[in-house]
């Protein structure tokens, strides 16, 4: 071999060693993870797991311990030995208070992987999944309608402001929407109760409690549905008032910028009908940035249900979570947080995946 050949051979070997083609992970696994959908789904699951883990340890750091409280109660009431009281409580809770925190955590995760949310600590025998199924639909109904109304109204009003920008109408609406954005939702709730509810007596504050009038059978009958809407009305109005302003302002600013875009100008020069320009050219493009906000807000609005539902004594998911925290019902809190964080994470994921339907520029293509 000449020197050059030697040099070449050495270089080949070096290149082979450094070549990115050498895989540490088998190809199918790597390709599987390269798949966009697999990747974002895995990230979502990881996020939820992280939230659950933090929650698990945090709730146990809260002052007040339901087990000690109960043992104490039994001790003083029945005068039995500490060990007896302890055993009774342990048996009725179906959990071993002696296990280390970490073992409890492993138990919790194992149950979760079997899709078992466990039972409530403070009311033994009540399955958490049943409780959530009982409370969650009410919140979804109230938050969902409030959210939808607020979004649609905000988009329409925001576009109107942009079309009439710098007019008296725009200035008045800007002022109102800034005010709406500035006032927090719990203040809106209190204002509604104090103003129309108590001072002006437009409705009976007491009768507005709960999710439907007592004595009605839940089902597809007019009386029940009417009553359900009536009871949800105040929370819905509160959600709308608290979020409408920011939708209006966002829509106004994005519409204003879209109106200056060349393609809108060209669309007018093309002699397109106004309605077509407003919907497909201005509206659709102006809504793109709002759509990204939408998914984030869904999570926040669901979370804000805790305060709003307490104010109106609306027995929904937020009320359930609040009660669970109050009595330090660890397992129920964990169950509720699981639902809350999953909603948040998956609504974001859903927005990510569907954004491409609205904006072809970010569409994820199979190849390339």
């Amino acid at each position: 071999m000449t020197d050059f050949q030697l040099l070449d051979a050495g270089q080949d070997a070096l290149e082979q060693a450094l070549s990115p083609k050498r895989k540490l992970v088998p190809a199918p696994v790597e390709n599987f993870y390269k798949n966009y959908y697999v990747r974002v789904f895995a990230q979502a699951i990881l996020t939820i797991w992280a939230v659950l883990t933090v929650t698990f340890f945090l709730v146990r750091q809260m002052p007040g311990n339901p087990i000690d409280v109960l043992i104490e109660q039994i001790l003083t009431q029945e005068g039995i030995s500490y060990q007896e009281a302890y055993d009774r409580v342990a048996a009725s809770f179906n959990f071993d208070p002696d296990a280390t925190l970490f073992d409890q955590y492993l138990d919790y995760i194992r149950d979760l992987l079997h899709l078992d949310l466990g039972t409530s600590i403070t009311s033994p025998g009540t399955r958490i999944i049943d409780e959530i199924a009982r409370f969650l639909p009410w919140t979804l109904f109230a938050v969902g309608s409030g959210f939808l109304i607020s979004f649609v109204l905000g988009v329409i009003l925001g576009m109107t402001m942009a079309y009439y920008r710098d007019s008296a109408l725009d200035h008045a609406m800007s002022l109102v929407s800034s005010f709406f954005t500035g006032v927090p939702n719990y203040i809106w709730g209190l204002l509604i109760i104090i103003g129309p509810g108590i001072s002006w007596n437009w409705f009976d504050v007491g009768a507005a409690r709960g999710t439907y009038d007592p004595g009605l059978t839940p089902g597809l009958n007019a009386a029940f549905i009417g009553s359900a809407i009536e009871h949800a009305l105040l929370p819905i109005i509160t959600y709308v008032l608290a979020t409408l302003g920011s939708w209006m302002l966002s829509m106004k600013s994005s519409t204003t910028s879209v109106l200056n875009d060349d393609y809108v100008n060209v669309a007018e020069a093309r002699g397109l009908k106004d309605r077509r320009i407003i919907t497909a050219y201005v509206g659709r493009n102006a809504m793109l940035p709002l759509f990204a906000q939408l998914s984030i807000s869904i999570g926040f609005v669901l979370g804000s249900g805790v305060v709003i539902e307490e104010i109106f004594v609306y027995w929904g998911f937020g009320h359930y979570l609040f009660q669970a925290i109050t009595v330090r019902d660890y397992t129920s809190v964990q169950g509720a947080v699981l639902i809350l964080s999953s909603t948040f994470v998956f609504s974001n994921l859903f927005a990510d995946l569907t954004y491409g339907l609205l904006d072809p520029r970010v569409r994820v293509t199979g190849e390339k």
Binding site: D262, Y263, G271
Partner: protein, 339 residues
């Protein structure tokens, strides 16, 4: 309507003046502009940036910005012996006039298409808004036009705008421009912002289109070579006025206005050497308070007392070659002396 136009005139602009109302005062963007465009003819509006070329063309389809005000003049449009007064169209008539009769291909086609709709949808939108609902027929016409502008018709028709390059978008916009067989197509800087090869392709495409389809062109450019290549007539615009108007050879080889002459000598040619290049001294005038007399006099080598007092009329010269200058003779003399 009662106006009569010679049968071969497609568009006639009379004494058009436009001001922009701004905080600093009224900008006299266009003053007493008159010209006529024959059907099938290509006319170039040349001049510096800010000279009012775009304002004139926007007025033709009434697409001026909100702060613009047309202070005088009329725009007459004729097709099949029917005359319309463009400035008097109501909003429905105007919408139908746009693109059907007069299409405008805007400067910078990069953002001319709605980014969230396929090219196909945007062709269909245009057709539908003008009462043409047969999608199959629209498709057939669109594909043949895309073919004409040398694009791969099937691929481009089903593409989103972001999937096309700048030159492709410009050509797709040209195809869209003639979709409804307009009589007049306005091209605002059709080749600006494109690389030199793409510019060449656009010019070839435009020439093809003119050969195969029957329409008049008004194009706006500061690219004199493009004007020389494409135009039948050339109008030089300075400070909102047409200062010279004539056949392309007349204007380019026997210019009668010092400003046009200045533009021509500031462009390199293949024949002349670099040292003959001259720029026009000074800068365009402030259009809020334009100079009295001839607006070009502060920058003009031939200017004297007359020029500072009286504005020269756009007087007819040999063979319909017009120029607004008091000293055409001296200009011709000086050109002879140089050669």
């Amino acid at each position: 309507m009662s106006q009569n136009l010679p049968p071969d005139v497609a568009l006639k602009v009379d004494d058009l003046s436009i001001v922009y109302r701004t905080d600093r005062g009224e900008v006299k963007a266009t003053a007493n502009v008159s010209f006529a465009l024959r059907s099938g003819e290509a006319m170039a509006l040349i001049g510096e940036s800010g000279s009012g070329k775009t304002t004139i063309s926007l007025a033709l389809i009434r697409k001026l910005p909100k702060n613009a005000l047309i202070t005088s003049g009329q725009i007459l449009y004729q097709r099949n012996q029917e005359v319309q007064d463009v400035l008097k169209l109501n909003s429905r008539q105007l919408r139908e006039f746009r693109w059907n009769e007069c299409a405008m291909v805007f400067q910078g086609a990069q953002n001319a298409f709605n980014p969230v709709l396929k090219i196909r949808k945007q062709f269909e939108d245009t057709a539908q808004s003008h009462g043409w609902r047969d999608k199959a027929a629209v498709r057939e016409r669109a594909l043949s036009l895309l073919q004409l502008v040398r694009l791969d018709p099937e691929r481009v028709y089903d593409a989103y705008p972001h999937e096309l390059s700048g030159g492709m978008k410009q050509r797709a916009l040209l195809a869209l421009g003639v979709l409804l067989s307009p009589q007049v197509v306005i091209l605002d800087e059709p080749t600006t912002a494109l690389d030199i090869l793409t510019q060449r392709a656009i010019i070839d495409v435009l020439n093809d289109m003119r050969r195969q389809l029957d329409f008049s062109i008004i194009f706006i450019s500061h690219d004199l070579s493009l004007a020389a290549e494409m135009a039948d007539h050339v109008a030089t615009v300075y400070a909102g006025e047409i200062v010279e108007l004539g056949g392309v050879n007349d204007v380019f080889y026997q210019s009668l206005h010092p400003y046009t002459q200045g533009l021509l000598t500031s462009v390199p040619t293949l024949e002349h050497t670099q040292d003959l290049l001259q720029s026009i001294p000074g800068s365009p005038p402030n259009l809020i308070t334009p100079p009295v007399g001839c607006k070009f006099h502060p920058r003009c080598a031939f200017a004297d007392d007359v020029c500072m007092e009286d504005s020269p009329p756009l007087a007819v010269d040999v063979g319909g070659h017009l120029a607004a200058c008091w000293h055409k003779d001296r200009l011709i003399e000086s050109r002879k002396a140089r050669v």
